[in-house]
């Protein structure tokens, strides 16, 4: 694996809430994306994955830690951000909302070029991006408006708008969640093909582990602002170790685990992160007493933030740590 291109180190993002409280939407994250690598970021709604994505894009400022791109820390001056945004592109969940309804597909795709002053052979670049995104013949789509296209075609138009700037990394927030099942596979195949052809790296945010399994090289499982388990996607999903990941995997149709684990309770408020292990109030191992040997640590000791080491399978769990030590 080549050295990471986009990386987050000890990243934290706080939001002020009314009443002077602070929500820690992202609370210590190390994450790397290498060129040509597809990383999935999975977790429940509200776990901070979208905030993490927005922070990686520079749309949100990090409260703690840093984002860096190609060894250069991200600076938030207008000029630096603009240059950064040529390299890292965003694809949103709902292509209908992501396209300005009054702009033609041509204008939507050409917008990035115009922002960055790449005005020479604009038409060719737009046609090329549309073709790479699978809208062919590209010229037929130039004067269409978003409402004239199908959902899948719209998402392709959004992807073309990202590709036209020749980015190195795409951050896709639930890229297929709003599409029909029949179109999903096509869009995912498109992302894989772009990786092959352009060495495009991608961070794909999803709540769907099946999707992560289909396209990702690595996966990071996020819970309440922190990554609790990460590693190569085959390892994490076939041998899930963190109780939270095990619960998520156990309810999949082809689960390697014997029976479904249903988590109790709701995701806690990011303004009131539980002390000790943040997953403890919902942890099935803690509740069943299997973790009694480490229950003291579970209650008092916060786990260290996982390092971004790309090749290894890492887990933030007190129980897992002593079991591994016992096995060794």
């Amino acid at each position: 694996m080549t050295s990471p291109l986009l990386s987050a180190r000890d990243l934290g993002v706080d939001f002020g809430l009314p009443g002077g409280r602070t929500a820690r939407a992202v609370d210590g994250v190390n994450l790397d994306v290498a060129p040509g690598e597809i990383v999935a970021l999975a977790g429940e709604s509200g776990c901070g994955k979208t905030t993490l994505a927005r922070t990686l894009l520079g749309l949100e400022r990090a409260t703690r830690g840093s984002v860096s791109f190609g060894d250069e820390p991200l600076r938030y001056s207008t000029k630096a951000l603009k240059a950064y945004r040529r390299k890292v592109q965003l694809i949103l969940q709902d292509p209908t909302g992501a396209l300005n309804p009054r702009h033609t597909i041509y204008d939507a795709v050409a917008e990035g070029l115009r922002i960055h002053g790449l005005v020479d052979d604009e038409t060719e670049r737009v046609a090329d991006a549309l073709a790479r995104a699978g809208l062919r013949p590209a010229e037929k789509f130039f004067l269409s408006y978003p409402h004239e296209l199908s959902g899948g075609q719209r998402q392709r138009a959004v992807i073309a708008g990202a590709l036209v700037l020749d980015p190195s990394i795409i951050i896709a927030d639930e890229p297929v969640a709003s599409l029909d099942a029949s179109v999903r596979g096509e869009i995912l195949a498109l992302l894989l093909r772009l990786r092959e052809e352009m060495d495009l790296g991608a961070l794909v945010i999803t709540h769907d582990l099946g999707l992560a399994w289909s396209i990702a090289d690595r996966i990071a499982i996020m819970y309440l602002g922190r990554i609790v388990e990460q590693g190569p996607v085959e390892q994490v999903l076939t041998e899930p170790r963190h109780p939270y990941t095990r619960a998520l995997v156990s309810v999949l149709p082809d689960s390697p685990l014997p029976k479904p684990i249903v988590l109790s309770g709701e995701l806690p408020d990011a303004a009131k992160i539980p002390g000790g292990c943040r997953f403890r109030p919902r942890c099935q191992e803690y509740a069943s007493g299997r973790a009694s040997a480490v229950s003291d640590q579970c209650e008092r000791e916060d786990l260290e933030v996982l390092s971004a080491d790309a090749s290894r399978h890492r887990v933030a769990c007190h129980l897992h740590r002593i079991e591994r030590r016992a096995a060794a």
Binding site: L90, N100, P101, S214
Partner: protein, 358 residues
Amino acid sequence: MTAHRPSADGGPDRDPSAEQAPAAGPGTAPTGRVTTGFGRYLLKHLSGAAVSLLLVLFSSFFIFRLIAGDPIDQLTRERPVTPEQREAMRAELGLDQPLWNQFLDYITGTLTGDLGTSLQYRQPISELVLERLPATLLLSGTGVVLAVLLGFWIGTRAGWKQGSRFDRSHVAAGLLLYSAPTFWLGMIVILVFARYLGLFPVNGMRSASTPDGLLSQALDIGHHMVLPVLTYTAVVYAGYLMVMRSSILDEIGADYLTTARAKGLRDDAVRRRHAVPNALLPTITMVFLAIGNIVNGAIITETVFSWPGLGSLFVSSIFYPDRPMLQALFVLFSSSTIIAVLCAEILYWFIDPRIRKS
């Protein structure tokens, strides 16, 4: 887990995921179909407007016959007349005809531009209206343009930074003025700027002493316009402010704004290029309504400032009561609104691509 991973190495030449353009090709739709679509759309709205105009014609004829009393009583208010004289006047005004004939005369007259004769001025109504129209267009037209520009400008910025000090102070100030009665605000304005400060004339549209030259006449009218325009604009601009603000708030969470930002567009350019054009769409009807109302928009302002326009003509006709004049002004005011709304609907066809779809 046994799910299959789709292979990424299908070969660059074989691309199973490529989307083919539909045969009918969006954007290259045959022009014949588009015009038919527009024809049908235009016909639908034209016929709607025609029905509304007919209803206005009918109702103005009957409403003012019910509420404005007998014109002969009003004409003979201050002098004794014999029943024979009354009958003679009735015949002269055509009121001895059966109602059905009067109605036909009224309809054919209105459609051919003959609006009848004013009771209070004894002049053709169309002459009186044309004489007063420029003054009204000047005052309300200027006021509406200023109010729309000011309201939209402030509303855009207030909505964009919702909850900011700019937002809160402008919404409060706008609503305060909006809720002030026009006649009261007008009197305050006259008191302060005309009486105490003596900066502007108290009322009217021109001074008798002004020399005849075009420039000096224009300056004189401009000088007289300041206070009524100020009053009118101050009262109505908050309406445009609030509509534009809420329209911006409807757009502000839209994903296409995030997309544009993520592509590197600066915040003010995101507002200008993406948010404002889309937020303006729902306000077009309101702007055209305002344009339609320019004809009758400033009745109270004209009265307070004795502005010689249609508004003060309308008020004096109510007090007379001048039935034919009221009837004619009612038709004029209503039809200008109907036509303005029709124009807005037609404009939507051209600026909102989504309408063309249906």
